[in-house]
Amino acid sequence: MADNSIEVKGLYKIFGPHGEKYIDAVKGGMSKDELNVKHGHVLGLKDININMPSAKIQVIMGLSGSGKSTMIRHINRLIEPTVGEVIYQGEDICKMSKADLQQFRRHKTAMVFQKFALLPHRTVIDNTLFGIELQGVSRGESEERAKHWLKRVGLDGYEDYYPNQLSGGMQQRVGLARALTNDADILLMDEAFSALDPLIRMDMQSILLELQDELHKTIVFITHDLDEALRLGDRIAILRDGAVIQQGTGQEIVLHPADAYISDFVKEVNRGRVIKVDTIMGSGSAKSDLTIESGSSLENAAKMMTESEISAVNVVGANGNLGHVTMKTVIDAMVTPATS
């Protein structure tokens, strides 16, 4: 399988007419506020280095204004960087010619937007095939492909509706179908589910995970919601004021928050669901008939032990026993440590 990883290297973005003039000052440590007050420029991104793995979901998380949208728009270069590189299959996207960039956007990327950004004058089917219509795919074929994906996101029968005849959740399904119809290796999702109410949001997350199971795209998913990040993200990067303050797997972040800001973030998380037995297991096997698969959550282990009234369980992988956890270690890990 082709390598569809994306490497962001030393990326800076300073908004304003002369961004490049202040690069050195920012590299020298000038803060966002200082830059704004003294020079009237806005620091969008500061020294971003993220390795987005191929065929995985990379989540970028942060509060409003932290630079998430700015970051994701560098991947298809809707925003020009001030300095830095975005490498995909050996090529720096930031240096592509206009024509190459257009081809790259048409064939390699597809995007889903927070506010859906559907074309209001086109029907659902015509919205869905918009991307491949731009590629020049014939009407017959594009309709067929669009119908296939509409069906996959559960919009069978809505082909001839106009977007504003649909609810928000349905509109975003159209947005997702439009992106999937493009059959691109990279899927960019900027707060794609943030405008939806909680139940529909969970629903969309499930659809995405289910699709990703068979599609294996490189997905860059933006959210300001930690639960969503932990549920979807194979890797998570946390942004604050335009800089990455921590990146890693969900577990790493929950178990070892880099600073008080992130501890605050992860305080309310259901740790039992995030942390895996592998993370806390002790070596050797315990005297117990219970076994649990490697990669299971603490919650599941606890449930298993409670139900069978046995206080230890062996963790097994494809090659046999890996270790064990006990009721005590599980509960210790599930309880949020007192904030230091």
């Binding site: 298809n76 809707l78 257009q102 081809q103 790259f104 956007r105 048409r106 064939h107 990327t109 597809a110 995007m111 937007f113 506010k115 950004a117 559907l118 074309l119 209001p120 004058h121 086109r122 918009f130 991307g131 219509e133 731009l134 590629q135 106009y162 977007p163 504003n164 005849q165 649909l166 609810s167 928000g168 493009n182 960019l188």
Partner: protein
């Protein structure tokens, strides 16, 4: 004793340019323009010749078509545009009444003038509007020109048009176009600029070229505004038919002019009402048509 007596003279009498200087100044410009007309009049006339031929041809076509056939064509066009029986029947009845009252021929002249000038306005105005929307520089140049075109009294630009093209249908057409073109340009520009930034970003993200963006996103979404512009352009063209008659464009307008000059009340009222009838039909049809293009804005839920 008034204020005038205590102030020095320079403040009470405006320090005008010398009388002979003013005369020379006007003479100079008039002379230069006359030379320009002498040297280039033919070139300009040739430039507008195709337009003149087009108008004459259309005029003759309208006049040589048997009236029942024309009324049928009107009815079909109005129906297609408005999908309203009321407007269609109203059109047929008012055409019959106008013909019965002896204004058929003049109505044909006026319709020909309005149709051709609207066509010219759209053919020139919409592309200008598109270019303007793409370039702030062009917009900053065109907007003052449009302001000028719309505010300067029509009689003033009739003078150079007359000098260049003489009396007749073509100068009438040009005068109407100068007056009626600005709205469609403005609203095309505005409509394109008002297109939702998010939607444009989506088009960019999927790799749309400039042309694809214009024709499959910007123009379709600007259409309601463009249609408002077309509607205004038609209305302004109709408002100009009397002025165009001043420089020799035949039609209902010239009858109104005759009525004014001779104080024929009934003649004036009849022709004036005929113009109003045409205006109402054009207005309703173009508005209905514009609205039908926006069916997608109707919501079912949400």
């Amino acid at each position: 004793m008034g204020l005038k007596d205590i102030l020095p003279e320079v403040m009470t009498e405006f320090p005008e340019m010398g009388r002979s200087d003013i005369r020379d100044f006007k003479k100079g410009i008039d002379g230069a323009f006359r030379d320009f007309v002498h040297d280039y009049g033919e070139v300009i006339e040739n430039f507008f010749y195709p337009l003149k031929m087009f108008l004459s041809w259309f005029d003759r076509l309208m006049l040589s078509t048997p009236w029942p056939l024309l009324i049928l064509v009107f009815a079909i066009l109005v129906w297609l545009g408005s999908r309203s029986w009321l407007i269609t029947i109203g059109t047929v009845l008012s055409s019959l009444l106008i013909g019965y009252l002896g204004m058929w021929e003049d109505m044909m002249h006026t319709l020909a003038l309005i149709s051709v000038s609207t066509f010219v306005c759209l053919a020139v105005g919409i592309p200008i509007g598109i270019l303007m929307a793409k370039s702030d520089r062009l917009q900053s140049v065109v907007v003052p020109v449009l302001d000028f075109m719309q505010t300067i009294p029509a009689f003033v630009y009739l003078i150079p048009v007359l000098m260049l093209l003489g009396i007749g249908k073509a100068p009438g057409l040009i005068a109407v176009c100068i007056y009626a073109m600005p709205p469609v340009i403005r609203l095309t520009d505005l409509g394109i600029r008002l297109v939702d930034k998010d939607v444009l970003e989506a088009a960019d993200a999927f790799g749309a070229s400039g042309r694809q963006k214009m024709f499959s996103v910007q123009l379709p979404l600007a259409l309601p505004n463009v249609f408002a512009g077309i509607n205004q352009t038609i209305m302004m063209a109709l408002a100009m038919v009397v002025v165009a008659a001043l420089i020799g464009a035949p039609g209902l307008g010239s009858q109104v002019l005759k009525a004014v000059n001779n104080q024929y009340l009934t003649l004036g009222l009849m022709n004036g009402s005929a113009i109003v009838a045409i205006a109402i039909v054009f207005d309703r049809v173009s508005q209905r048509f514009g609205k039908r293009l926006q069916r997608h804005t109707e919501t079912i839920h949400g």
